[in-house]
């Protein structure tokens, strides 16, 4: 099962996104709208970074619901591993598209009903930086 081929062909944004996502706390969220499926305007209002409360919700979702298939520690399960090493070569826009729209022919469902594109962008950044705290016992 490969995440390599996303339905998006917006490779031009990938480089800029990688640079941005290296600093997940960076305020320049407007650029992330570029990763949305349809909207390619960098000025999209949907690009607002999730609030702190929303980020906590997303981490719970990531750990438990994404984790149902990808592992609570993202080391893989029925779905592939989502560790930084596993995702390093995957374009961010492709990952965001996979999160939001799922992958036909696989068990990966679309998560758009549960999150905005800004949420997905933030999650992808989180996956790629993968702070230890995400899965450390409380």
């Amino acid at each position: 099962m490969s995440l390599k081929r996303g339905p998006l062909r917006t490779a031009g944004f990938a480089g800029a996104l990688v640079a941005l996502l290296a600093a997940p706390a960076a305020p320049a969220r407007a650029e992330h709208a570029a990763a949305d499926l349809g909207a390619v305007s960098p000025a999209s209002p949907a690009a607002a970074a999730p609030s702190a409360a929303r980020q906590r919700e997303l981490l719970t979702l990531l750990r438990n619901d994404c984790g149902a298939c990808h592992g609570m520690r993202r080391t893989g399960g029925l779905g592939p591993a989502l560790t930084p090493a596993a995702l390093r070569d995957r374009p961010d826009d492709s990952l965001v598209a996979t999160v939001l729209s799922g992958r036909s022919g696989t068990a990966m469902p679309p998560w758009r009903p549960f999150m905005s594109e800004a949420d997905a962008v933030w999650l992808v950044a989180r996956l790629k930086s993968n702070p230890e705290g995400d899965h450390a016992p409380r």
Binding site: N64, D65, C69, G71, R73, T75, G76, G77, L78, P109
Partner: protein, 397 residues
């Protein structure tokens, strides 16, 4: 009674009490049939619980990644074998309330089973894909059975491992579309029978309570693969192949679980993949005889031991609900809201109570199954699976 004898009678209970107090390693004599464990998935801990007093007796930690952890029991109901996601296999002594043994047996594991004779514990692994057999006493590795099926030795993820009579283990290969029957009569030299092209992406499996049939749910297509273990020469057949044909499936946010699935009164109540339905199947003919509309996509459908009710929980976003199906009328009799993120349900051995884990509420609720009222709640940190020792005596558990 002579004075000396009277004195002895008076002293003996005190002496016995002192002895017990002085010897912390020897708890009072007791059975195990009302014990169980609850998995605290995020903390790598289990709690040992007592279903008579409805209390937690002990907390045991250091078990690693317990997301999706499952448990089987030794045939005497004393030891729990906990299969962790990270490949850890831990043998817990419920009476001694301690970890008896622990091995790391794989990189990514999804569960296990124990043989009919109780001598062999089997683990099913995603990575490296395969089944491993262990001595139930010592956890010594007895056999490694890689699920290599591809032309270049690619290994499939193994799902749906279950025990069956004759010291068999049966499992499904998610990526290879196969069912394997593993004869573990000689566990150091197991014999594997492969059944190929059984259907696309088997995601879980189970053995019926009588041990005769193995069923594998299919994710990649409609229907269920059925193997009659009494007549393996007949091969794998397909049942329910037409259910839902032509209908659009909903996205699946959590795979249904089949082990523990409900067979009640000659009918199996099956969670339908990607639908808000429970399918009702006649286990004599394996034909669908009805469907029950439910509140969401079912994950577990579990029969109360007497078969009168089937309790169902659901995938996101309906995972705060539990529905109770009346098996006689095949309709939903009650809808309950036990809490946030209901992950599992386990009946006490005779079914007067069901214990329900609500992960995001950090508690387990104990329901009276007759009145549907909550009798008690226990604080448990992110509880997932609840496993009682009654499983020790059941085929396919």
């Amino acid at each position: 009674m002579r004075p000396v004898e009277r004195l002895a009678r008076l002293v003996t209970p005190f002496a016995a009490g002192l002895l017990v107090a002085a010897c912390a390693q020897a708890p009072a004599l007791r059975g195990t049939s009302d014990l169980g464990v609850i998995v605290e998935r995020a903390q790598g801990r289990v709690q040992v619980v007592d279903t008579t007093t409805r209390t937690s007796l002990a907390t045991l930690g250091g078990l690693g990644d317990l997301s999706h952890a499952s448990v089987v029991y030794s045939r005497d109901g004393r030891y729990a074998y906990v299969f962790g996601r990270d490949g850890g296999l831990t043998k817990i002594d419920l009476l001694g309330q301690k970890i008896e043994r622990r091995v790391m047996q794989a990189g990514n594991s999804i569960g296990g089973a124990i043989s009919q004779d109780g001598r062999v514990v089997a683990a099913q692994n995603y990575a490296p894909g395969g089944v491993k057999l262990f001595d139930a006493q010592t956890l010594e590795l007895l056999a490694d059975i890689p699920s290599a099926t591809g032309p270049n030795g690619e290994r499939s993820k193994v799902v749906g491992l279950a025990d069956a009579p004759g010291d068999l283990f049966v499992a499904s290969l998610f990526d290879a579309n196969e069912i394997w029957v593993i004869d573990a009569a000689d566990p150091r030299a197991p014999k594997v029978t492969r059944f190929r092209d059984i259907g696309r992406q088997p995601y879980d499996g189970l053995v019926t309570p009588d041990g005769r049939y193995y069923l594998a749910g299919l994710f990649g297509e409609d229907g269920i693969a059925l193997l009659d273990l009494w007549h393996r020469e007949r091969g794998v057949s397909r049942i329910l192949a037409n259910y839902g044909r032509g209908e659009e499936k909903l996205p699946v946010y959590k795979m249904p679980h089949l082990r523990g699935w409900a067979v009640a009164g000659g009918y199996a109540f099956l969670p339908a993949v990607g639908r808000h339905e429970i399918l009702v199947v006649d286990t004599r003919t394996w034909r669908e005889v009805g469907r029950v509309a439910v509140a969401g996509q079912p994950v577990f459908a579990i029969a109360r031991p007497d078969g009168r009710q089937v309790w169902v929980n659901f995938a996101l976003p309906d995972n705060g609900l539990v529905q109770v199906i009346d098996t006689e009328t095949r309709s939903v009799a009650a809808t309950l809201s036990p809490g946030k993120a209901v992950l599992h349900m386990e009946f006490t051995p005779r079914g007067e109570n069901v214990w329900i884990s609500a992960r995001d509420d950090n508690r387990v609720l104990i329901y009276d199954t007759a009145t549907l009222q909550v009798q008690k709640t226990l604080p448990i940190d992110e509880p997932s699976g609840v496993f009682f020792t009654a499983r020790a005596g059941r085929i396919g558990f």
